[in-house]
Amino acid sequence: MSRDIVSLDNVYANRLGTFVKLTNSILPVQYPDSFFQEIVQNKNGKETSFAQLAFYSEVAVGAVKAKLIANKKGGILPHGMYIEVLAVLEHYSGKGIGTKLLEYVESEAKKHYQHALYVHVASDNVRAITWYKKRGFEQDGDVLLDYYKNTTGSANALVLKKTF
C-alpha cells in the first residue's frame, strides 16, 4: 500500500467525542467541556484555534489542539502558536504520529505568519521534555509553580519554545 499508515484529519463536530476520549485518557489533566467546544465553535469567523486527529491504520490514536496567541496588550504570553494538547496513545508512541501532529501545528503557524511554538509541560514529564527538545524546543524562562489545577500529575510546569 502506498498510502501512509499515519494520517491526520479535521475534528468534525460528530467526532468531537473521539477527541475528548483521547485527551482524557492520555493526559492527567481534566479539561472543562468548553475547552473542547472551542474546536467546533468557530468564533467570529476568524481562525485562531486548530485541532486535528491522528489515525494509525484508520484508528484514531492521537490528537492536537493549538491556538494563536496575540500580544496586543503586552501580556505574559508572546506572539506565536500555543500548543494546548498534543497527545498520542501509549501503545502507538514511537511511530511518528506525534511528529506528524507537530508538523501540522508548525505549518499552520507559518501560514499565519507566526514563527514560534510554545508549550507547557509538567516539570516531571521527562519523556515529553526530551521529546520536544529533540525536535528543536528549548526551555523558556523558569519553572511555573502550581500551574496545573485539575491534575493527577505534577502541578509545576515549564514552558518550551521553538522558533523558526
Binding site: 460528530n14 473521539t18 476520549k21 483521547l22 484508528v59 490514536v61 496513545l89 501503545h91 502507538y92
Partner: protein, 840 residues
Amino acid sequence: MPPRKFLGSKNLAGRAKEHSQFLEALKLYESRQYKKSLKTLDTVLKKDSLNIDALALKGLDLLSLGEKKDAENYVKNAISKIQSIGASAICCHVLGIYMRSTQNYAEAIKWFQTSLDNGSANQQIYRDLATLQSQIGDFKGALASRKTYWESFLGYRSNWTGLAVAQDINGEHEKAIDTLSQFEKLVEGKLGEPELYEHNECLMYKNDIMFRAAGDNKDKLHNVLNHLNEVEKDIFDKYGVLDRKAAIYHKLGDSKLASKYIRMLIQRNPDDFQFYGRLEEALGIQNDNEKREILYGNLQKFYPRSDPPKFIPLTFIDDKSKLEAKFADYVIAQLKRGVPATFGNVKPLYRSRSEFVPISDKVVNEFFQQVDPYKDPVSYVWTCYYLAQHYLYVKDFSKAESFINKAIESTPTLVEFYILKGRILKAIGKLDEAAEWLEEGRKLDLQDRFINTKTVKYLLRANNVDKAVETVSLFTKNDDSVNGVKDLHLVEAAWFIVEQAEAYHRLYLESNKRLHEKLSAVKTQGLVEEDVESQLKELKQLEWSTKKYQGLSLKRFQAVAKMYRQFEDDQLDFHSYCMRKGTPRAYLEMLDWGRRIYGNPMYVRSMKGASQILFQLHDESAESKKEFDETFNGIMKENAKKSKKVNSQLNKHRDEERKACVAYSESEDKDVFGLELISSQNPLEVFWNEFYKSYATKSSEEARDYVLEFEYQYRTGKLALCLAALNKYAKYHGEKSGLTGAMAITLLLATRESEPFEAIAQKVAFKGCESIKDLPVAERDNQEFDWCSFFTEHYEQDLPSLLFLYKHEPRQGETYKALILNQISTVRPQHQMQVLQYQL
C-alpha cells in the same frame, strides 16, 4: 352473493337521461375529478334514489376522497339493492374496483367475474382478474383469466409471458414451453435493442422450466443443454448459464465437465462457499477427506486471498495435531492483520466442532503472549478482542471482561470494544451498565448509525424507553412529531418496534406486580394517615402505567404484524408489472418469498409476544378482575376528594405522554396507547385476526410452532386440535421431548370432569391420550398422583417444558418452580434474571 344474470333496467327508456349522466360521472371519476363526479351523481340520485349504478360509483368516489365510512355505506346500500333488482355490468365492475381498493380481493374477484357474466365487453377486466387471483393464490383461476386475455390481445409480449408463467405455476410445463417458443418464433428478427433484455430473461426462463421438467431424465437433460447452448449468445446472465451447465452435467454424471463449470464459477467468485461444496459433489469426493484436503490445498494456491479454501478444511480434518496447526495458520494470520471479525469467522467451528474451543484457547493465548503492544498495537488489541469473545462464549465472564478492558485501555477510540463490553455486561445481567457503555461508545462518533442503533437496543433491553426514543430520534425524520417513533413506523423499522414492544411488556409486568403488592398492602394495613395523597398518587400512577404499558406493548406487536400484511399486499402490483417488464424469474422468486413471510423470525417473535399479552387477558378471570376493580375503586371512593386532586395532577402529563407515543397519524389512529386493543371482550379473536390467522394458514407445516398452536386451541377449548398439535410436535421434535410430555400431561388433565371443557372434546382428547406411550391415563382422576415425577422420569426436562407445566399445573407449581430454579443455574445470568423477574 351477487346475482349471476344481468336483469337489466326495466324502464331503460325512461332512464336514458340518467344513464348518460351516470356515464358522465364515470368519465369524471376516471379523470380523477371525484368531487365533480359526486355532484353529477347526486343529481341522478335525486331523481332516482334506487339507481344502483350511481350508488356504487358514489361509494367509489367517496373512497377516493378518503371518506371510508361513507363510502362503505353507499356500497352496502347498492349491494343490498342488487339482491332484488340485479346489477349492470358497469355497476359490478365499479363494485369490483371498490373491493380491490379496500383490499377485499376475494370479493373483488367475485364482482369482476359477475361483471363479465353480465355481459361486460371490457376485456381489461380479465387482466385485473388474473392479478387478483394470483394475489390470493388462485392460480387455476388466474390461468383461465390470463388465457382469455391473451386471446384478445395477442400482440403484447406481456400476455404471452403471463400465460406461460400461469401455465408453469399450474404444472403445465410443456404448454408453458410451447407458449414461450411460439412467441419467440413470432418475434424472430424483429427485436429492437430495448427488448433484448426481456427477451433474454424469457429465454432463460424457458430453460428454467425445461430443466425443472426434465428431472433426472437424461434425454431431456440433453435437450435442456442443447437449448442452453443455442440461446447462450443472447443471454445476459452469464453466471446463470454457467450455473445451469454445471447442474446439468452433474445430473448427467459427467464429473469432468460439471467440475469444469463449477471451477469457472469459483473463478468468478472465489468467496462463495456453496460452489466449493458443489465442486466436491461433482468430483464425488465429499466423503473422502484425504482427497478433499488435497483439493483445498490446491485451491488455496489459486485463490490465496479467499476465505473458503482455508476455512473448509477446518470443518473436516480429524487428525488433532494437524487440525491445531491449520487452525493456528488460519486464525493467527487474521489476528496479525488485525481483522476485527476473526472470532466471528471461527464461531461456526465452535458450534459445529466443540474440540475447537480448547484448541482456540491454547493457540490464541500463546499468540497473545508474544504480541508486543508497543510494536504491534493493532494486532494486540484485536487479539484482546478475540479472547474477550472467546471467554464470553465459554461463559468465563470475568476473563472476558478483563480482556476487553485491556483492549479499551490500549485503544479507547475503537467503538467495537464498547459494544463488546456492553455485551459482556448484558450477559452478566447488568443491563443498565451495558447500556451506559454503549452510550460511551456512541459518543465517539455521533454520525455512526450502527452504534446509535445498538445503543438504542441496549437501552430498550434495560427498559429505558425514554432515553432509547430520544437517542433513536437523532437519526429519524421528526417533522410532525415530537420524536422518531412515528417515522420508525413509517419506514417499517421492525427491529425498533419489536424491541420497544418487549420493553413495554417487561415494564407492564413490573408495574403490574408493584400495583398488586401496593394494593394488597393498602387493603390489609389501610392508608397511612399523614401521607394519603402521595399513596393515592402512587396507586393511580401504577394503575395507569400498568394499563399503558400493556396497551403499548400490544400496539407495537400489532404494528409489526401490520407491516407483514403490507408486505404481502405489496405483491399485488407485481403480478402485472413483472410480466410487462419481462422478469418472470424474479416474479417466481417473489411468489416464493411471499409464501414464506409469515414464518419470518420477526413476525413469529411479534406474534408470540402478542400471544403472551392476549392469552393473559383471556386467562384473567372476570372474578379476579372485578375484585381488583372493587378494591381499587373502593379506596378511591373513600378518599374521593383527594383522589380527584391527584387525578388532575396526573392528567396534566397525559397529553405529553400521548404525544411521545404517537405511531400513526391521528386521523388514522386514535388509540395511541392501545387501550382499546387490550379492552377487547375477546382477546383470542384479536389474536386470531391480527396475528395468528396469517401464520396458521400460510406457514409451512414443518416450520409451525405447535406449542403455540396448543396454547391457542387450549384456550379456545378445542381439545381435539390440541391433540393434533401435540402429535405434530411429537412428530417433529420427538416423543421424549420435554414439551411433548408437558403438553400430553396438560391435555390429559384437561379431560377431567372438573375442567370447563366441552364433554365431546374431552372424550376425543382422552381417546388420543390413551395412545400416547407411557402416559398413565388411569391416574387422571387421582388427585394425589405425582405428575411432576412422572414427567421428569419419562421426558427430557428443559426450561420451556418446565415453564409450560408451571403455568398450566398450579397444583404442583412449587415443585416445578424448584426444578426451574435448578435448571436455570447453568444458563447465563442474563437469562436467569429474565426467568426470575418475568416468568416466575
